[in-house]
Amino acid sequence: MATDHIVGIDLGTTNSLVAYMQGDAPAVIPGEDGLNLVPSVVALDEKNQVIVGNAARRYLIETPERAVYSVKRLMGRGVEDIREELKLFPFRLADDLQAGEVLRIKIGERTYTPPEISALVLRQLKRNAERFFGAPVTKAVITVPAYFNDAQRQATKDAGRIAGLDVLRLVNEPTAASLAYGLDKKKHGVVAVYDLGGGTFDISILKLHDGIFEVVATNGDTHLGGDDIDNLLITIALDDIRGDLGLDVRRNGEVVARIRKAVIEAKIALSSKSSAKLEVELPGGKRYQREITREAFEQLLQPIIDRTVGPCKQALKDAGLKPVQIDEVVLVGGSTRIPKVRQLVQDLFQRVPHTDLNPDEVVALGAAVQANILGGGSEVTKEMLLLDVTPLSLGIEVAGGVTDKIILRNSTIPASATQYYTTQVDGQTNVAIHVLQGERELARDCRSLARFDLKGVPPMPAGLPRIEVKFLIDANGILRVSAREQRSGKEAEIDVQPSYGLTDEQVENMLLASFDYAEEDFRQRQVIEARREAETILAALAKAKKSEAWQELTSDERRKIETLDKALAAVKDGDDYQAIRQAIDALNQGTMRLAELMMDSAVSTALKGKAMDDTGIEEGQQAGHPVAKAEFE
């Protein structure tokens, strides 16, 4: 019987993974190609078919305008925010994009919002999991950078929904990593998780004890990661090419993509070698070649990785701890493989970081642990509890353009605050509230989260209504607001205008539109269901072979059935729906007489007064095939 498989998903800037709890330990579910990592790359082929993952990577180089990568950098952001990104990444905005509209990116001739693109990656992971389990997967835990703000989290949840997943929880990436790390219940102490991924940096400090994972402080930079290192090297290469060869290839998408590939390979090589070579074919038969020493690379890196120091120090300060009080530092994210990064972490925390866990997989594994906990827990997770925090202060804009902080950063979530409002004008029925996130004093320096319009306030003289507004940050780190006018007891209707997000209606429409892709899903569902039916029949047949009716068949009949049995067993695990269907039908045909015999004996047994149960044949079964519908343990 298929139980609800809840999976853990790491939706990364560069790579994504899906994992589940396999007995005592979490395990990554590989794709059809047998690989654990699914590059977060989406492309459209010539026929506008969606390609995701490794297969999409070659499109980045061959037809870069038909592919997109690192879309996580755009989640929950507006056009104004991404001006800098646009300079460094080949994102192409939709031509008809209006001001204040949700971002749309061009892939080929089509446009997609970042949540839709992320949904395509999630869908791929979902399929991988379904293929693995041979059953539908509809529930997941998805990880997000700890420093993600409300809009970025909401966008991630939207992506899940568009992909057909019920997102049970968003978990912060460093917290997830700590779960994978601390799965051994004896883990006890203060742990710092340093997570430098493709596009984001997080530092979280946690207290582990008795299975409780309590985040004490968290900080980071959602605009900092391996991509920035790559871009630095790409810029140098482009300058080199222009200077030495007189070629300006900045606008040549294919060449830039090739440079990027070479740069990434060199970067990775430099983690274990003292020098690496960059070699790129250029138009006109020319070629760019350059050798980079690790020394030179580290000098280039320094300003980028130095940007991680500030957040680390702030997190320590907020936690009220000194580096020496940290028991263990855990490294997460591909970029932590760089020796210079490890050195920086070691210097900062005055200890050798823990590097036993695979920095690419640890977050997904932790998400799988959390998925297990949410599903009810198992022997190994039943004592575990996650207490996370909100990374940014929540504030309201008040008179004078100032932010009034109502929930402070690093408050354990769920967290709430209550504010009271009244009206300025007689008969006023609406109250507008502007909610922000951030640490700055002035509203304009903070991140606008949303404008809430409270409607339906009963008309009264100015100053009389007493509107109680409850702000609640839930376990996902996402804000909910409710309001009630106290004198009348009336719930206010709240109109939400998210500053950087999709409305519910937009998400619904995308869900419907995504039925384009449902074709592929449907096909796979057919296979899964046929496979299940095959298994049911084969099991029933195995049982039937032990019955008296089996003995009543001629040896010829028995041999024929065996052949059909083997034939079905051979195709049922494959992907060919037709083949499975045909084999099922053939076996059904071939066992008709056997079924009749079993039915006869069941009937005569019943007439002798024995319970139907004893014969192992289910009551009230559908007409046609007793063997197929028989119960079995």
Binding site: I212, L387, T412, G489
Partner: protein, 264 residues
């Protein structure tokens, strides 16, 4: 993001008539049943039904009552912490991920109250300020209206200088003014800086001493809760207000001094 995330809210929140619902509920003793369990009908206690164990809607009680403590200030924070973890294990939304919508909503409400309560009671000053608010007092510094008025008019918020500090504050302000003048002229006066440094140290000592004074008031308060008269409690309450106000004043002053020194 949907609007009223609390579709079920009207059913369970008791509408408070007073600005702070909490102040009325000292009538609810820790552990006392408040109404019947929605699931099995048994009379329920604070967070869970004592018979069937199902989570219950949050009741707007004060933070002390939430933890099952009496309104005493000399709290053993290790006991508080233990209770916090124990309640977290049972109330956290993760525990209810597979439960009914209603239970999920209640666990969300309960655990946010739990976290807010813990955050407040854990910190000694927050705890004291919270209790004073329950007792109907607004600390001078915290008076929101004063802050807003100051913002609106652009004036500095008036803070009453504690009597015993008058002389010290006067001298310090003079030194700071001289310092600013000198800086404008580009001059340096190490002797002045030393004076200011000493003054700051003295203030910091007073700051620490005030904390100890606060703690001794706690003990008086706690005794008075059990066996004192209304009059006695009021007196202690007013003393605590005074201690906190002086302490806040010094804190702000030290902050101003630091700012002035840093801009050197």
């Amino acid at each position: 993001m949907t609007g009223a995330g609390y579709a079920s809210a009207p059913n369970f929140v008791r509408r408070p008539d007073m600005p702070n619902a909490e102040s009325k509920s000292s009538l609810i003793m820790p552990g006392e049943a408040t109404s019947s369990c929605w699931s099995c009908g048994t009379m329920r206690t604070m967070h869970f039904c004592c018979a069937c164990g199902k989570v219950q809607p949050a009741v707007p009680v004060d933070y002390f009552t939430f933890f099952g403590f009496s309104r005493k200030l000399d709290l053993d924070t290790s006991v508080l912490e233990k209770e916090f973890y124990a309640l977290s294990r049972r109330l956290h939304p993760d525990v209810f991920a597979q439960s009914e919508t209603q239970e999920r909503a209640w666990s969300l409400e309960q655990s946010s109250m739990l976290n807010d309560a813990y955050r407040t009671l854990k910190d000694p000053v927050k705890r004291t300020e919270y209790l004073l608010r329950l007792e109907g007092v607004e600390l001078e510094e915290q008076s929101k209206q004063a802050t807003e008025k100051a913002r609106a008019t652009g004036e500095l918020k008036k803070q009453v200088v504690p009597a015993d500090l008058l002389e010290e504050v006067f001298e310090l302000n003079m030194h700071l003014e001289e310092l600013r003048m000198q800086k404008k002229l580009g001059e340096d006066d190490p002797a002045m800086l030393e004076e200011i440094g000493k003054a700051k140290l003295s203030l910091e000592e007073k700051y620490d001493a005030l904390f100890n004074e606060l703690k001794s008031e706690w003990r008086k308060w706690d005794k008075a809760v059990d066996s004192g008269t209304e009059k006695e409690r009021l007196a202690i309450r007013d003393t605590m207000v005074d201690v906190l106000n002086r302490r806040n004043y010094i804190r702000n002053l030290v902050r101003d001094v630091n700012e002035a020194l840093e801009s050197t």
